[in-house]
């Protein structure tokens, strides 16, 4: 009897220990693949953490290795805002060597939190230094920059030109037009609290109407029947007549590049147009993380992001414009999707945005009940 008991107790102990063993085996297995960059003594591995609109990580890794000689591993950390916050939260114990995907809205968090290490400004291509200084006004003029601009774009109101021609209604051009009676119930916007594109548009209205005036403008939009939806695809593919069979509204918040995707079959015309007087600029930045295990490798990867090979691929892969002015745009982009001119956009500095954003959203919540 005693013998039986002991054996069964032993079995119980063995069963109890099983998951522990499994967990250990699990961590042991992954040790090889997960993070060679930090365990191995060799400094040939680099990790870059990116937002979730980045290109295929494996393809990028292969191309970047060919160009830099480093083994490049790509990690994803949510959208631009989430990525920024994760980098700020792990300041001092970085989750990677380099990062890409922090945009001008969130840039000041990276700079204020000392998250990014300086990078030599001489690697910047033509036209990029100005974009780098725009988010780093205090350090402008030095030899190094904390944030390296990689690509850019613009959030703009888009219209279905075919719809306006058919209905014989004049096309709108400006912010003010959208509150005009003849465009009642025709506009779809994005909830700025749920969508970064929507937030971008709200920032543009703050830039255009001031902190005291933008809420009033939104109230007029609301009274003129503007619909505010949650996500960009709900708006563009669900509500916009220019992109959906079931859509009912010919005015939508989208990007300056969107008309390149509504080009007719022979490539001679686009059925939609971006209103370039309603845009705000978005610039996406990369950088080396402070405390990176492999800062040289990180800088090499960032140089690759600025190489003409990568810059050239940006429009097709990420729907953004390259920062390198000498990079060539696809034909449809060059023809139908120009960026708004300098000075035509409605922008605020990153520090202004960070100081005001939460209050503006709260104000909007109170005025239009988002």
């Amino acid at each position: 009897m005693t013998y039986v008991r002991n054996r069964s107790t032993a079995r119980l102990v063995a069963i109890s220990a099983l998951p522990l063993a499994a967990a250990l085996a699990l961590t042991g297995c992954s040790n090889g693949g997960a993070d060679e960059g930090e365990t191995g003594a060799e400094s040939s591995a680099v990790t870059i953490v990116v937002h979730d609109s980045f290109i295929d990580g494996e393809a990028f890794g292969a191309a970047a290795k060919a160009a830099t000689g480093y083994d490049v591993e790509v990690m994803t950390a949510g959208d631009g805002g989430e990525l920024t916050n994760k980098l700020v939260l792990t300041q001092g114990a970085p989750i990677a060597d380099a990062f890409f995907g922090v945009d001008n809205t969130f840039a000041s968090r990276i700079i204020d939190g000392d998250v990014a290490a300086p990078v030599d400004a001489s690697i910047l291509p033509q036209g990029a230094l100005e974009l780098a200084n725009a988010v780093n006004p205090d350090g402008a003029g030095g030899d190094s920059v904390p944030l390296v601009p990689v690509d850019m774009g613009a959030t703009c109101i888009n219209i279905d030109t075919a719809w306006f021609a058919e209905q014989g209604v004049a096309e709108p051009e400006t912010f003010e037009d959208l509150t005009d009676e003849q465009y009642r119930d025709l506009t779809v916007l994005l909830d700025p609290t749920a969508s970064s594109t929507g937030a971008s548009f709200m920032i543009a209205t703050v830039a255009a109407f001031g902190e005291d005036g933008f809420a009033d403008y939104w109230k007029q939009l609301d009274e003129n029947g503007a619909r505010i939806v949650q996500g960009w695809s709900d708006a563009y593919y669900g509500e916009f007549t220019g992109a959906s069979d079931s859509g009912t509204r010919p005015i939508v918040l989208s990007y300056s590049s969107s008309p390149a995707f509504t080009v007719n079959e022979d490539g001679t015309a686009s059925t939609t147009r971006a209103l370039l007087d309603t845009c705000s600029t978005q610039v996406e930045y990369a950088g080396v993380l402070e405390g990176a295990a492999n800062p040289e490798g990180a800088q090499a990867v960032i140089e690759y992001l600025l190489s003409s090979e990568f810059q050239q691929s940006i429009p097709d892969e990420m729907y953004m414009y390259p920062v390198d002015e000498s990079a060539e745009l696809p034909a449809a982009w060059a023809e139908f999707a120009p960026l708004p001119a300098e000075g035509q956009t409605h922008d605020l500095s990153s520090s202004e945005v960070q100081a005001g954003l939460q209050d503006w959203l709260r104000t909007l919540g109170d005025t239009v009940g988002l």
């Binding site: 069963i15 967990a23 365990t39 949510g78 916050n85 792990t90 669900g238 859509g247």
Partner: protein
């Protein structure tokens, strides 16, 4: 001397069985969550509680709290109202295809929230067939979607209890002239009370902490505490306000768990041999109609809308399989990396690991919690332990994800950074599946009549022998369903997975979210198609697991 000799290893074994899962939950859940909340309450290295009055002074905080309670109460009431007829039909009536229908009704519970959100939008949103009702972005749609998941929970819990309820009293009332409605209201309903209340508390917990559905369908207007914590943390890095709301959420969850555990105790009892069923009669027609309407309008319609929309091509192409083709052979511009099979493969692999962890730890927890010690202190500790293991159900996935980032930096004595390792994904999913595994298995072991064990002991069996011959086989036979639950939940898990920093490989729910947000015209259709694929996978697993359930054992009475 001999007696204490025996007691020590036994106590050690039980201690280990209790400690290992507790350690797992402590290290991967409590520590990260508390660390993040603590960060919110410190400034410049000192304790700073000024955030509490500040956040509680905001009108928005109260609105969010009000939304949370309103949505959860309404959805709980609706789930109970529709769940009781479903319980009657599925557990009291005998008809062909009943077990299939039971399995089918389990499916909504494990469907990924991304899929359900997309399905309800496909029905009520712009372009959907019920868009004319103008319910898009209304409280009603949020409540309907929450009920979509939870009618099952009520039906299972109440049904399992009902089928063993002694109906002689109700029959006597009928004999004495009470109508069927009166007999139900006066006799049966009060008798079902504990089961209904315990299911209600759990449904309330699920609804009050719902994330994906409320985010997709509710927007900012109907934000609940969970989505508000998400916004504060992910958009504003306002950890202070998020920490305050986390405490509020914690209080709600603790209350719901307490209520659930108190009420559960009343109806978790030894299973009798009684099992009353009958065929349907004419008088059952109203109940059958309610059940049929629930099934068709609440469950079938949104899913049908999803499937229908997934068969529509880009503008002007009509009905086509193009969206599905794009999953298998993605065009160059698609954000899909590799084919959908790669994503399915990765999802299945991760779900296997998560299931292994959740089921093994879950069984250990269940063995411990199902003991009925004589000492009051031990009884109390066990019920406290039971509730603690349930906590991961009720804490925001964002808080967990960001907390893991803060804490998992090589501190565990392992030589690599767990924060960026793919291993963390199955661990996070296992944390979420663990409470469900426990709730599925526990009633079976608690249902063992104490006298059976006592009789075995009397006949000379040692405690370990009793475990080996009575508890383990029963556990093994029910494991199939628990396995299915863990697997399906892990397969569809989106929240925690999305908030981890992950290697550049996509699980199926992440693929759907990526496709939904992509500007390429064909992506939205592909997202709908991928949702259908994920739904079919989860449903298949659940139906398979339901078949593994041995007849006559009523499990899953959450």
């Amino acid at each position: 001397m001999r007696a204490s000799d025996r007691r020590l290893p036994r106590a050690l074994a039980w201690g280990a069985a209790a400690a290992i899962p507790a350690l797992f939950v402590g290290v991967f859940f409590l520590w990260p969550v508390l660390a993040l909340i603590a960060t919110g309450f410190t400034s410049d290295g000192r304790l700073d509680l000024a955030g509490i009055p500040e956040v509680l002074g905001l009108e928005r905080s109260w609105r969010v709290l009000g939304n949370t309670l309103a949505q959860a109460s309404l959805a709980t009431a609706l789930s109970i109202a529709l769940g009781i007829p479903a319980a009657f039909v599925l557990y009291k009536l005998k008809f062909r295809g009943r077990s299939f229908l039971r399995g089918l009704l389990t499916v909504p519970f494990v469907l990924p929230t991304v899929v359900v959100g997309v399905a309800f939008t496909a029905l009520f949103g712009p372009g959907g067939s019920l868009h004319v009702l103008g319910l898009d972005r209304s409280l009603l749609v949020v409540v309907l979607a929450l009920a979509f998941f939870n009618v099952t929970v009520v039906a299972r819990t109440v049904g399992g209890y009902w089928s063993q309820l002694d109906s002689r009293q109700a029959q006597a009332a009928r004999m004495l002239g009470a109508g069927p409605v009166r007999a139900f209201l006066a006799i049966t309903l009060p008798a079902l009370g504990p089961a209904i209340a315990s299911a209600g508390a759990l449904v309330f917990l699920f609804c009050a902490t719902s994330f994906g559905v409320v985010l997709i369908l509710g927007g900012r207007e109907f934000a609940n505490i969970e989505t508000e914590i998400y916004r504060l943390t992910v958009q504003f890095l306002d950890l202070r306000s998020a920490a305050v709301l986390s405490l509020v959420q914690f209080a709600i969850v603790a209350l719901a768990l307490l209520a659930s555990s108190l009420l559960r105790k009343k109806h978790e009892r030894a299973y009798g041999m009684r099992h009353e069923e009958r065929t349907a009669r004419q008088g059952d027609a109203p109940v059958l109609i309610v059940f049929g309407a629930t099934l068709i309008f609440l469950h079938v319609l949104p899913i049908a809308a999803l499937v229908w929309r997934s068969l529509q091509g880009v503008k002007g192409t009509g009905v086509t399989f193009a969206n599905y083709v794009a999953l298998v052979d993605p065009p160059e511009s698609s954000p899909l990396r590799g084919t959908v099979f790669d994503a399915i493969g990765l999802s299945l692999w991760i779900a296997c690991l998560a299931t292994l962890i959740a089921v093994v730890f879950g069984m250990m927890v269940v063995l411990v919690v199902s003991r009925k010690p004589r000492s009051r202190l031990l009884q109390r500790s066990i019920s406290l332990y039971d509730s603690a293991i349930m906590l991961p159900l009720g804490i925001s996935a964002v808080t967990l994800g960001f907390g893991l980032l803060l804490t998992m930096h090589r501190r565990l004595g392992i030589g690599f950074d767990l924060r960026t390792s793919i291993v963390l994904i199955p661990i996070a999913q296992a944390l979420i599946a663990l409470p469900l595994v426990v709730r599925t298995l526990l009633p079976v072991l608690r249902g063992i009549d104490t006298r059976t064990r006592e009789a075995a002991m009397m006949l000379g069996a040692t405690p370990a022998r009793v475990l080996a011959t009575i508890d383990f086989p029963l556990l093994g036979r029910t494991a199939g369903l628990a396995l299915g639950f863990a697997f399906a939940v892990s397969l569809g898990e989106f929240g925690a997975t999305a908030f981890l920093v992950r290697p550049d490989a996509q699980t199926l729910p992440v693929v759907i979210a990526t496709l939904v947000g992509n500007p390429e015209p064909a992506s939205y259709g592909a997202a709908l198609a991928a949702s259908v694929v994920l739904g079919v996978l989860s449903a298949g697993i659940m139906l398979g697991a339901e078949r593994l359930r041995p007849a006559g054992i009523s499990t899953g009475s959450w």
